[in-house]
Symmetry: C2
DNA sequence: TCGGAAAAAATTGTATATAATTAAATACAA
DNA sequence: TTGTATTTAATTATATACAATTTTTTCCGA
């Protein structure tokens, strides 16, 4: 088990929220691995707080789908199965398309300009060949579109769904041969939103998810084989 | 404030879950009104438990969007605004359409037969003119479609979104002049799923939500006027 | 009467203590 | 050795205690 958990001491948030963020981050980055038990006393000692905020944080993680509760046995990090990822992506495909369509109607001039800049920045980022930088540029580009919908519920849902695949977000970025494609797709999305062409925008958004799905599924297969070999 | 809260004593669920269900039910039925504060000691006394399970239940309600947290002030029942309802319905329209499409591909023969029966039962239910019975028949019909997608995440999300409008679910049922329409729409959905006609199924599902939106928004306007008059 | 400071009360946030339950270890008989 | 009963330890579930903060009330002076 990893014992290097540490909290980012945000002074003004209740401890339960700090713990919540810390544990979530640890799960998403893979620091806490699927199947690993979350034991309250351990975590409390590790993070230097009492069990109460730990428990409250775990309740929220449960509802977010990041941990699984077994009554009277406690919580463990939720397993990510191929099926659950496919389920997530199936919903995201639809919601991302909706975001693109809504953005056509509702995006402001300022946001549109920001989107144009984000496309350029992404292109720049690919030149660094640093997956973290590219991923960051990609995320902030999509954030602009999602926020432009002005639909708070939609924003929250898309963020939550993205979160579920955080661990795999590098996979479709790593493959450098796909970068040109990504740049093109971004440009198409930008252009179609600018022209208020909903159908093209929605299709481009879907294609984007399809590509993501392919690389994630490839990665899952690799991990599955690795697990098989270890046994 | 309403003091008649009572728990349904499910012996084998942890108290936090019993409290969670109790509070959720109370919020959805309007027993706890928007803006009303949820004070831990009060609720603990009312329900005959300590503050701990109350707090844990509130954390989950927070993430479900049914309560709003204000740090060091506690939780209150989330306000339902016109905007937040529109946001919810906008997402639901898309997800319900997705459900209908996926159901075309994945519904089993048994589920299809159940759907056919549910349509008939709904038609029967309208004859009773009892809104609760009709609403129940409507919900179980839609449940069949949603479950038929086999997508756990989608099922969870649609249920959560439906929940947000629980209080208004009677409004579009009450209007008896719309019943013939509803029966027709259900039949179209059933027929198009049977024929695997995704486009028709998706459109029918969207239309269904559109109609729901109309009656909910009408109701909201009425409530708004009533509030205005009281002031 | 009004405004505002000080005190009191109420409420949340956090920690700890106790009870109940489950999992693991041990001991013993077949 | 294996299977099972019994004990022990670990862990969660719940309750309570204390600290910190916010809200309300009270009281005093202008």
């Amino acid at each position: 088990m990893n014992d290097n958990l540490q909290m980012n001491g945000d002074e003004f948030l209740p401890l339960r929220d700090v713990v919540f963020n810390t544990l979530r981050q640890a799960i998403l980055t893979g620091e806490l691995k699927p199947g690993e038990r979350l034991m309250e006393i351990h975590l409390a000692n590790k993070l230097g707080v009492s069990r109460t905020p730990i428990r409250e944080a775990i309740r929220k993680l449960e509802l977010e789908g990041l941990v699984t509760m077994i009554p009277r046995r406690g919580a463990e990090v939720a397993e990510i199965t191929e099926k659950s990822l496919k389920d997530v992506l199936e919903v995201r495909r639809t919601l991302d398309a909706l975001c693109a369509e809504l953005a056509c109607d509702r995006i402001s001039d300022g946001e549109l300009e920001a989107l144009r800049m984000a496309c350029l920045k992404f292109e720049e980022a690919t030149k660094t060949k640093d997956a973290r930088i590219i991923a960051k540029a990609d995320v902030s580009l999509h954030d602009i579109i999602v926020k432009a919908t002005g639909n708070q519920r939609l924003i929250q849902l898309v963020n939550n769904l993205s979160e579920q695949m955080y661990r795999y977000r590098f996979e479709y970025i790593k493959d450098e041969s796909g970068h040109a494609n990504l740049i093109d797709e971004h440009r198409i999305i930008y252009e179609s939103i600018r022209k208020k062409d909903k159908e093209t925008a929605a299709n481009a958004a879907k294609l984007h998810i399809d590509n993501q799905e392919k690389s994630v599924m490839k990665q899952i297969q690799i991990e599955k084989q690795e697990r098989g070999r270890r046994k």
